[in-house]
């Protein structure tokens, strides 16, 4: 699914950036497709994804979950990537792009810290200085990832404004970029001004490309019936959906974080609670009040509490090409427990939201259901231990 030349997916997208960023965004827009299509770039990225990241990641048939849900559940094991999540696919691609564009320093925002770790890793590999902006609250709740970033040589800069989470980290990264336009801004999700949503979607599209190949060659299945992914900004969903979007027989399911419940005032379910607005340089669905002030979202998962949603996902959801579901904190925690005890896989809290959706869909026994397991749960052990210590 490609945006228009101005970066719009239907009514969503575009580049609403202050003039200070015009030159940077324009430079990226004019170069990204040429560089991404270059055969040398493709070869270098493919080599890194294979031998450094460990791709292709397995497509694992989860027999125990399949028995419970009386269908055929496959897990796309993005959690087995180097650094523990899908974020590295994008970070490496953009680092190579930044190098081709002659950039010598990198900045990034991070929520759960997975994108920060992926970026810090890529920067360590290529010897580039790296600053990662992270909300002060997220620094607290994702301490292991902060320690990893620091050990990798990145400078972690706390975002102290607003809700002190992902949206504020993004604001701070953009402000730093305005003041230091020579830096390359390595966005971690399919958000931001055009061309970032398209750039990140293309770099994550490897997920759905592999799913398609693995279903066919390992299981003689042409196409899945369902692809399920969690959505904050939407990068793992965009990657898992990408090559299936044009095939209407494949049902795409995006699972948002409901927090304590969609209508409790403590939620991050942007598709259900948002309206058309502008955030971080693109027009999309935004959680906001009647005067356009952004509402601070809430989820137990630091990677999903974002008050916007990538413009491509906004279009897929509003056009009903994609089914929007949600999972609460409790449902995600229970899903994490189920996956751990049934399959021996501890998922990231973000990915646990996608697993939770299995409860919410009536599958046929013949259905082929692929859940994108976007990350692993090491970073969330504190949260899990706190929840489960009361014998839950």
């Amino acid at each position: 699914m490609k945006p228009t030349i101005d970066g719009f997916y239907g009514n969503f997208g575009g580049a609403f950036v202050p003039e200070m960023l015009h030159k940077n965004v324009e430079e990226l827009k004019n170069n990204y497709i040429t560089i991404l299509s270059d055969s040398e770039f493709k070869k270098e990225l493919a080599g890194l994804l294979k031998n450094y990241v460990g791709r292709p990641t397995p497509l694992y048939k989860a027999e125990n979950l399949s028995r419970i849900y009386k269908t055929n559940v496959f897990l796309k094991r993005e959690d087995l990537n180097h650094t523990g999540a899908h974020k590295i696919n994008n970070a490496l691609g953009q680092i190579l792009l930044a190098k081709k564009m002659g950039k010598t320093s990198i900045i990034a925002e991070t929520g759960a810290g997975q994108h920060g770790v992926a970026t810090a890793t890529a920067c360590a590999l290529f010897g580039l200085p790296c600053k990662v902006f992270m909300g002060e609250l997220d620094i607290e709740r994702q301490a292991p990832n902060v320690a990893r970033m620091k050990m990798l040589g990145a400078e972690v800069i706390p975002a102290l404004s607003g809700s002190k989470t992902l949206k504020d980290a993004t604001n701070e990264a953009i402000r730093y970029w305005i003041a230091n336009p020579e830096a390359y801004y390595l966005i971690g999700s399919v958000v931001g001004p055009h061309p970032y949503p398209d750039l990140v979607a293309r770099l994550q599209a490897v997920i759905s490309k592999e799913i398609k190949q693995q279903l066919l060659t390992e299981n003689s299945i042409e196409n899945p019936d369902y692809v399920i992914a969690c959505v904050g900004g939407g990068s793992n969903a965009a990657g898992a959906f990408y090559h299936f979007i044009d095939n209407e027989d494949v049902k795409l399911v995006a699972v948002e974080a409901a927090g304590e419940g969609v209508n409790t005032g403590k939620s991050a379910a942007t598709f259900q609670l948002g309206s058309l607005g502008v955030i971080h340089g693109n027009q999309t669905l935004v959680m906001q009040n009647s005067e356009g002030q952004i509402i601070e979202p809430y989820s137990i998962s630091a990677g999903l509490d974002y008050p916007g949603i990538g413009p491509m996902l906004a279009e897929l959801l509003t056009s009903k090409r994609c089914i929007g579901l949600d999972a609460t904190d409790l449902e995600a925690l229970e899903a994490a427990k189920l996956l751990t005890q049934q399959e021996g896989i501890i998922p990231a809290l973000e990915s646990a939201h996608a697993i939770a959706a299995l409860e919410k869909i009536k599958f046929k026994p013949t259905d082929v259901v692929v859940v994108n397991l976007s990350g692993r749960g090491d970073k969330d052990m504190d949260t899990y231990m706190n929840y489960f210590k009361n014998g839950k």
Partner: protein
């Protein structure tokens, strides 16, 4: 009186534009501070509409915005105070500065109607790109007679400056420096002066004002050499914090 902005730039004097965050330090401060500014001879008043996610603002204005929002400032309250300022002076241009999402939620047309009714003359919307303005909104701005400013920065190419100048119906806002951190010196540096001269050499049709990081009388003078005036934001907010706004303005004029 039609087009107060044009009128003000016809004057043969150094022009001073003061930026105030509406709702800071108190919810009703805007109209009170404006009365004092008018009495002191300030030429243009720029009103910041506090926003939850002010991407193009430095720390001082971010903090002021956050205080103002906690004070309960709303857009309709800002328009009420603007109308009150208009009763104090029929000639001073009032410019609103805010973010595009604020217009989008209220509705661009509805917003312009409110501007017109309360005597607001122009807008500065840093995150509304000129291309979108020209294709979607220029006509409606014109029909309400609300003027639009555009920002240019040290990175803006001559070609793009010409495009922004053409689209501009108010003054060009010359951002003196990419840094958003406010004043760091009481003089412009050589690089900044060279940048101002480059813009001056383009002989723009629109008047221009220099802003970002201006804090001293010398800088106001210099801004008036290379452009048609100076804009002071963060330094004024800092003076407000210390309740020294009167002496601060006196020192500049």
């Amino acid at each position: 009186m039609e087009n107060r902005i044009e009128q003000v730039f016809k004057q043969d004097k150094d022009l001073l534009n003061i930026f105030i965050t509406a709702g800071y330090p108190k919810i009703d401060s805007l109209s009170k501070i404006s009365q004092a500014l008018i009495n002191q001879g300030v030429d243009v008043i720029e009103i910041g509409m506090p926003y939850s996610d002010p991407l193009a603002d430095g720390e001082v204005i971010q903090e002021a915005s956050s205080v103002a929002l906690n004070n309960g400032i709303t857009i309709s309250n800002i328009f009420d105070q603007a109308a009150e300022i208009r009763t104090m002076s029929n000639s001073i241009p009032l410019i609103l500065m805010g973010y595009f999402n604020q217009l989008l939620q209220i509705g661009v047309e509805n917003f312009l109607i409110k501007c017109k009714r309360s005597g607001v003359d122009g807008l500065i919307i840093p995150d509304l790109p000129v291309e979108v303005y020209l294709s979607e909104y220029e006509e409606i701005f014109k029909s309400f007679g609300i003027k639009m400013s555009f920002l240019i920065t040290p990175q803006t190419s001559d070609e793009r400056i010409k495009l922004l100048d053409k689209a501009c119906s108010s003054f060009i806002y010359i951002v003196s420096d990419n840094s958003l951190t406010g004043a760091s010196s009481d003089r412009f540096n050589k690089k900044q002066i060279a940048y101002f001269k480059r813009i001056q050499g383009l002989n723009l049709r629109s008047p221009s004002m220099i802003g970002f990081g201006i804090s001293s009388k010398i800088m106001v003078k210099e801004a008036n050499i290379y452009a048609n005036g100076a804009i002071i934001g963060s330094a004024f907010i800092k003076a407000l914090e210390k309740n020294e706004q009167m002496s601060f303005i006196d020192k500049l004029i």
